[in-house]
């Protein structure tokens, strides 16, 4: 009994399902971690061959095909660019949608169409567009566009949901107090929609970092990480890819952990501002 609240019926089965799901989710990751510690000459599967840090070394100094260092960097940079652009464009679009402008239904359907459009189609199409213009698509041009067509629907849908919950009275109150449009935006709208924006940022980065089909044709001369991974997979992949998986997992857990601690301490210090209350409303 926590805080004297009674557990609803079916709690334990649901909890069990949740933790089973986590196990299911992390199962492959555990495998990845285990198999990344093999010695040279290993395969992608069991039985495990030896125990060493060999493949972690391979990530930084590759001898076999598949140099993942640059692709990894590119994926991170692209992910960040996509993240920022998605946040900005989605936020602005959210503001616009609030006003129910003429043609907003059309734009809405456009957004949904962008989401459901088969990725191969978009990839091929962008590639054709570029080659007809006599240009070569690169990861930061055609690739960026392809990823945006994927992340923007998520961002816009999230912002739409967030904005529809935004009580306009809060902004009116600010205006009554004499705030200009910019001040209202900065001090009321953005802080309240911040959790949504963080969600958009999270989705934006993750979707881009991991995306393969849409960028497959338009990455240009230099591959992003997923493109490089799929390329080497069809050729002769080694457990180096597992080493990468292990490293990214540790890295992301580290990021989450640190941000949690940071936010925790930040909240403790801002307790008096009432900001916590609003954002705690989920």
């Amino acid at each position: 009994m926590r805080d004297g609240i009674k557990r609803a019926p079916g709690f334990w089965p649901r909890a069990a399902l949740f933790y089973l799901y986590l196990l299911f989710l992390y199962g492959p990751i555990i495998i990845i971690v285990i198999l990344s510690f093999q010695a040279d000459n290993a395969s992608l599967s069991f039985p495990m061959q030896g125990f060493s840090l060999f493949y972690f070394g391979e990530v930084f100094d590759p001898h076999y095909i598949g140099d993942y260092r640059w692709p990894f960097g590119r994926s991170v940079i692209l992910g960040l660019i996509v993240m920022v652009l998605t946040m900005g464009i989605s936020f602005l679009a959210g503001l616009a949608f609030r006003k129910n402008f003429r043609g907003n239904i059309v734009v809405f359907y456009l957004v949904v169409a962008s989401l459901v459009c088969p990725s191969i189609l978009i990839s091929l199409g962008i590639g054709i567009g570029f080659s007809n213009l006599g240009l070569t698509s690169q990861w930061w041009s055609g690739g960026l566009g392809a990823h945006l067509s994927w992340t923007l629907p998520f961002g816009v849908l999230i912002m739409l949901a967030v904005f529809s919950r935004l009580d306009p009275r809060l902004e009116e109150a600010a205006k009554d107090q004499g705030a200009t449009k910019w001040q209202t935006l900065r001090n009321v709208t953005i802080p309240i929609t911040l959790p949504g924006l963080v969600g958009v940022a999270l989705f934006g980065f993750t979707l881009s970092y991991d995306e393969y089909p849409r960028i497959s044709n338009v990455a240009g001369e230099d591959n992003t990480l997923p493109v490089e991974l799929v390329n080497t997979l069809s050729l002769a992949a080694t457990p180096t890819i597992y080493a990468i998986g292990t490293m990214t997992t540790i890295f992301s857990l580290f990021i989450i952990f640190t941000s949690f601690i940071v936010v925790y301490f930040m909240q403790k210090r801002r307790r008096g501002f009432g900001v916590k209350k609003i954002s705690a409303d989920g």
Binding site: A42, Y64, I65, G127, I128, T232, A237
Partner: protein, 430 residues
């Protein structure tokens, strides 16, 4: 030459230096490919795109050491090489597609012809790519798209194919070739295998594998069906609709009987399936056989009486190249065929098309093993320092002549390619 190779660079220092000295001599002569080679102030990078077979860090290092300009290799899957060559030709300076795609690559108009008079090593290239279409007079010509048939063109900017040997313009510069066959687990099968028909032998039901690329998989299957006496193809490398229908229907029948454990489309699958024993006979590529052996599992690239299925790679020259850059690319390709690269590839089981130059850089013991098919007198190591064969072993399939002289069919893109793909998709979906 000492057996101890630096595992990292694969090739012993001496061999690399030898190669460098040879090229340096040529560079000093300043007339590689007939182009002046004054590179000092130019920052030239030759970007190549090709299969992982021939685009890898070690080769890149060798090229960069030997040549005065930078070489940057990118490995990509076959569809990507073709896709980029067709849609984004400016994205690289040299494309290395498989020969079977020449009918698609060359007529696209994205490439320019090579001038054989400007290639010092052209004479050393085997006759397979020239008039006769055969390496030796008594070699088999082979069904399907013999490389010589798509080798020559009428002029530097043409899009056609002409009679082999009739002009000095070639559509692409051949790189290397090899002969493919079935891979088997001799320890599990326990008896000699000598015919393609064993691929569809019910004895191996549920334990057979086929490669998922339509053109290649279908040809492997065709070899099996013909060897089994079920059908006589007019041209296995260019089937009629009826022949395609027969083959696909048989494949579907086998699939429904549970004959195929898997159709593999990634290299690792083919290795995994063999290592785990899920499959005991399957289409395979030779590096996969090596990979299986490296894990301590016995696997043979089986010599079969009906012959081999062969493939080749070619260097295509994009149209946008000109001036110094063009000269650099010519120099790169010329270096490629002076022998050091040849030795590097020979040690992995591939044959670069200029074997006489390769012979200069391959120590006799290794030459005898890889090319003459003689029992090894020393332990044989790969360029990565791994033990491939112990002394006394014979290369699977034996000599260069036995393997490349008995080509039953060449990897090809058939006239009925579209129909083939549709029916192959049906095979996959059924």
């Amino acid at each position: 030459m000492s057996k101890k190779t630096d595992a990292k660079s694969g090739l012993s220092r001496r061999a690399v230096l030898k190669g460098t000295a040879a090229v340096a001599g040529l560079v000093a002569g300043s007339s590689i490919g007939g182009f002046p080679t004054i590179w000092a102030q130019d920052d030239i990078t030759v970007r190549t795109v090709g299969m992982s077979v021939s685009n890898m860090p070690q080769l890149e290092d060798m090229a960069n050491e030997a040549l005065p300009f930078k070489v940057q290799q990118t490995a990509a899957a076959i569809p990507d090489i073709i896709g980029r060559g067709l849609n984004q030709p400016k994205s690289a300076d040299l494309f290395e597609p498989p020969f079977m795609t020449m009918k698609v690559m060359w007529p696209s108009g994205n490439f320019q012809a090579w001038d054989t008079t400007k290639l010092p090593e052209w004479d050393q290239v085997v006759d397979l790519y020239k008039e006769s279409g055969k390496i030796w007079p008594d070699a088999w010509y082979g069904d399907g798209q013999n490389p010589s048939s798509v080798g020559y063109t009428s002029g530097p900017d043409s899009k056609d194919f002409v009679k082999p040997g009739s002009t000095k313009w070639i559509t692409n510069h051949p790189v290397l070739h090899n002969a493919d066959t079935l891979g088997i687990r001799p320890d599990v099968i326990g008896r000699p295998i000598d015919s393609w028909k064993e691929l569809i032998n019910p004895e191996f039901s549920g334990r057979a594998g086929l490669v998922a690329f339509p053109q290649i998989g279908l040809m492997d299957a065709a070899m099996a069906f013909q060897a089994n006496g079920e059908i006589e193809y007019a041209n296995k490398g260019n089937m009629t609709r009826e022949e395609i229908d027969f083959s696909i229907d048989r494949l579907i029948q086998l699939k429904n009987d549970g004959h195929w454990r898997s159709l593999w489309s990634t290299f690792n699958d083919s290795v995994q399936l063999m290592v785990s024993g899920e499959v005991v006979i399957q289409s395979m590529w030779s590096p996969a056989v090596t990979a299986v052996r490296e894990q301590g599992v016995s696997c043979i690239y089986q010599d079969l009486k009906e012959g081999y299925r062969s493939w080749s790679l070619g260097h295509c020259l994009p149209k946008h190249l000109e001036g110094k850059k063009l000269g650099a690319v010519y120099d790169y390709v010329t270096w490629y065929h002076t022998g050091t690269a040849g030795a590097f590839f020979a040690r992995q089981g591939y044959y670069v098309v200029t074997w006489q130059n390769t012979k200069k850089y391959l120590p006799k013991a290794e030459w005898d093993f890889w090319y003459e098919g003689k029992p090894a007198t020393v332990d044989i190591y790969s360029p990565f320092g791994k033990l491939m064969e112990k002394a006394g072993a014979v290369r699977d399939g034996g000599s260069y002549k036995n393997r490349m002289g008995r080509i039953a069919v060449w990897n090809s893109v058939m006239d009925e390619n579209e129909y083939l793909t549709d029916r192959w998709n049906e095979f996959m979906a059924s």
